[in-house]
Symmetry: C2
Subunit: 418 residues, 2 copies
Amino acid sequence: MTLAPPPGRPLAGMRIVEVSAFVAAPLGGMTLAQLGAEVVRVDPIGGAADRSRWPLAPSGASMYWAGLNKAKRSLCVDLRSPEGQELVTRLVAESGPDGGIVLTNAVGRPWLGHHALTRHRPDLIHVAIEGHHDGTPAVDYTVNAAVGFPMVTGPEGHAGPVNHVLPAWDIACGLYAAIAILAAERRRRATGQGQALRVALHDVALAMAGNLGFLAEAQIGGVPRPRVGNHLYGGFGRDFATRDGRRVMVVALTARHWRDLVEVTGLKAAVTALEGALGADFSTEGDRYRHREVLAGLLAGWFAGHDLAQVEDRLRRTSALWSVYRTFAELVGERAGELRANPMMALLDQPGIGEHLAPGCPIDPGDAARPEVVRAPELGEHTAEILRGLGLTAAEIEDLRARGVVAGPAGAGPVGDA
Amino acid sequence: MTLAPPPGRPLAGMRIVEVSAFVAAPLGGMTLAQLGAEVVRVDPIGGAADRSRWPLAPSGASMYWAGLNKAKRSLCVDLRSPEGQELVTRLVAESGPDGGIVLTNAVGRPWLGHHALTRHRPDLIHVAIEGHHDGTPAVDYTVNAAVGFPMVTGPEGHAGPVNHVLPAWDIACGLYAAIAILAAERRRRATGQGQALRVALHDVALAMAGNLGFLAEAQIGGVPRPRVGNHLYGGFGRDFATRDGRRVMVVALTARHWRDLVEVTGLKAAVTALEGALGADFSTEGDRYRHREVLAGLLAGWFAGHDLAQVEDRLRRTSALWSVYRTFAELVGERAGELRANPMMALLDQPGIGEHLAPGCPIDPGDAARPEVVRAPELGEHTAEILRGLGLTAAEIEDLRARGVVAGPAGAGPVGDA
């Protein structure tokens, strides 16, 4: 091995072909790209089904697509034509010793499956993201409904399910796919052998419901988990309204957090009296949870009597964990300075969208320089470059374009210009 | 390299020392353990702050702790004593060429930091999970408040924030930590060099708000994202109540999904008339979203007129994505057969908790046999074994135990018995 990737780009040399859409697979690919892998996102001509996902910029460009495909290269190919399929197959097969890696959620295409591709690349690593483990489709929202969380999320007393807005299962699934690729690639370095791996969105959700104890609780405790609104289950944490109409989330996870919180709010005498009267021990998280309503009631009075600035000033002196609630608009408005000062964030100029603050990878490489945050490609931006890399001549590329087998960026002339 | 890990255990040989608590770091370590790495979770004597996190089994054992620490080995050490710190340092330093990896969220302990440990293990890989990138603490709930999601989650018209119950940021952060270790280990194999990496919970949340377009939307669109209840933003998806009082989540992501849904519910004429009257094109996701209330109103009537069994029967014939909402109790009760049939799940007998269905890793190794699902250790279960591995004699181990420097499982005699 002659590889010597810099600390900020530990995956330099690794080459991945991603045929994907929406969140999970694109996030998995982007994570590896931001760590230095060369990731080619392959799209059908005109783009995949996520091409116009909201939110959209005034130009119509998808900010969602741009956010999830940063640092990749883009190849546009007619995926239904045998010639297009052959080009993608060659891209997988002829990608050098650290290539031969496919990440996809397009599980309905036999030519793109492990079985077909491994004939052209015997040491292929193939990671397929599916809905369910039996191959049937699902999306984040349906999986979330299926595994129980919407029935315990949301305001106390609310009837019916509360969906999450954050596609948490897609995120976890995409990160598991990245882990699958890295683990399989480590094994391939040791053994020379490839592998076909699958990650099902529903399995990810089920695994997490199990890992966090929700399944065991239902099996063994037998007591249905209640909907406890914004309370932290099994400990003390809740939101409070300040005098000036803001909201603060406050969490006392440990006995020390709780002691500090009671101290700084001047409620020590009241809490001690309550403790005696109730026969409770608020230094234990169980008792803080059992008596959460009366404790939160006491604290609510204190918060309602102070403006946010006063609350912040007091809470800063405690070990208790807290944050004011912010809107996205506040984050990029009044808090934009904070955002700009974060070394993960950079100002990106994205075609069709314009300049905006965008995140790089949240893994901070320590002493090493963080790699530059790279924008998403335009659809087909690298078509010509990638085809030249496969040994095609300018004339061959132009012929493919003229016959609609490949496409460069929209509005460009011959793809050779890209 | 003589490593030849089987496909189901691609990380065989890798050795990780985890000093952790709560969700993120334990999940990161467990993910690598389930892929074959040897992960030692180091706890203070009596356990860390997550030792009694709810949900609890009737015995008082934490189902949360058991869920997040499967497949690890457990070492209990007095982390405040110089002797205890030296044992952990030796465990990191003397762990062979594929060891020298530390995963921790205990960032306030200088002796456990990269700077101190690298003197004993020059090629150390050190991954620290933090609250904020400046090192200040935070937890999932405070980070969630800070980045905007609670203000757009929950029922339309609800005032105030809606917290998530799923600690989605902890999950993503733990998986990023696993990715950081795998990426750094790949680089170490190529260069021989270690690395200090940091992953901040707040950065993970901020990155995802950016990746999904929420930040760009607020910066460029300038229009505050509305709270749209259980509607899918920018497309068509919502929950519907059936005649027999159940709820179903239905998503029409593509034009085909929508066509199928309209067809199977017999609403084609009504939808076509509406399309004409409104000048809309419901084959586009934007128009399905803009007119979501009237479309959902039409469909709601159909769902309210059918029992769940009929709804399922019809929806099964469509490409539309859907799921009934379930509670955790239903998952392990009426749906337990489905859970048992899932190859990721296994029946575990966990001390203090009993037999229950528990998940392995959601990465399916394809043709290879899935690795066995391994239970969590008892606290200190492997103390003696690990110390013997460092070359300590039975007498030395017993002396450390008698002086309170190390501990075996509670209730056991000399740790040498463990």
